[in-house]
Symmetry: C2
Subunit: 209 residues, 2 copies
């Protein structure tokens, strides 16, 4: 009886999670293809073969969808930095391990990150503040990781803050131009971007000032 | 009489140019602050102390404003590449001369470039195609410049295409985070970004493969 109850309650949670995930996926595809203001909740519902009230009940309003999509975008990159920082003090190989994981996280959440950048002005004010805070945290953590990892490897960065923005810019930009149907596989892009970013920071063993 | 006519006709052209420039400036500020879909032509008219028909007559519709703002954004960067390529074959110092000019062009047109990135899905289809073509040209020209300038300086780039996107990403990203009211002057950012980009490419004299 107790077991029966637990199974039932797990299934409910699984169904709820599936509904959320599929709703988020459909909204992400549509906001990415058509833009947020050109997409209605009816479009999202039609994509899923459900009605608009289904989405309201199981997820919430259109702004709720937008902020959650953006959270997933910043969150995926932030998770990778936190994971590396949680391993303890960086060593000389930390950047070489971290960068491909970061590039992969960005490519995996390419649509979320592009939507996050494009739709900033369409977020509700409280959601915009929340995401600005999340981005600020991400930049602070990546700057910390960069500073520590470069110190461990013997490189001095002239300006870790601008370097962090340059790296995040170089990698995040791929959300606008990279297509899995193009010349490069995600693995190719990850390999090349890793070399480029490593070149950018490791050069400083020669040009410290 | 002929002189009188010419003066009159120049003044007309000057007035028309002034009206266009001020309309474009007001629309750029508003689209940047509030987003394209949250801005009405009435908002733009109010900012200029004119009426909406004034804007229709002297400039055109809201989509006309958007595409022109985006053209100016891509155009400012494209102009700098064309200017350098027009000087003839690149030499070892070409990149050091070009990069600060490119960074300055991006910072000068920060709002236009941010709007161009954000509002892609709100362009009319024919305008979106025109801008995609312009961006494609820009990327092809910057890749050509990069390849020639690196060859002249004795660097071999493992993948000039991805390197070009990484550089454009690192520089263009500043349109989202840089504020002239912050820690760095535009000159400071330009200096630092130039060093970062040069490090990224010049490292390849050691790590060619």
């Amino acid at each position: 009886m107790a077991d029966g109850k637990r199974t039932k309650s797990n299934l409910r949670a699984e169904v709820a999670a599936l509904k959320r995930e599929r709703t988020l996926g459909a909204a992400t595809d549509l906001f990415y293809e058509k833009g947020y203001t050109n997409t209605t909740l009816d479009d999202v519902a039609a994509q899923l073969g459900v009605t608009k009230p289904f989405i309201y009940t199981n997820f919430g309003s259109k702004p709720d969808l937008l902020v959650e999509i953006c959270r997933v975008g910043v969150g995926s990159a932030l998770e990778e930095v936190e994971r590396v920082l949680a391993l303890g003090e960086p060593d000389p190989q930390t950047l070489r391990r971290f960068i491909p994981r970061y590039v992969d996280a960005v490519l995996r959440r390419q649509k979320n990150i592009a939507i996050n950048i494009r739709e900033e002005k369409n977020l509700l004010p409280e959601h915009a503040s929340e995401l600005a805070e999340l981005r600020h945290n991400f930049m602070a953590r990546i700057e910390l990781l960069l500073t520590k990892a470069c110190a461990a490897a013997g490189y001095k960065l002239p300006d870790p803050n601008v370097t962090a923005f340059a790296i995040v810019g170089a990698v995040s930009w791929s959300t606008f131009w990279y297509s899995p149907q193009g010349r490069l596989s995600a693995q190719d892009l990850s390999d090349r971007m890793t070399e480029i970013v490593l070149n950018l920071v490791t050069h400083n063993d020669r040009t410290t000032r």
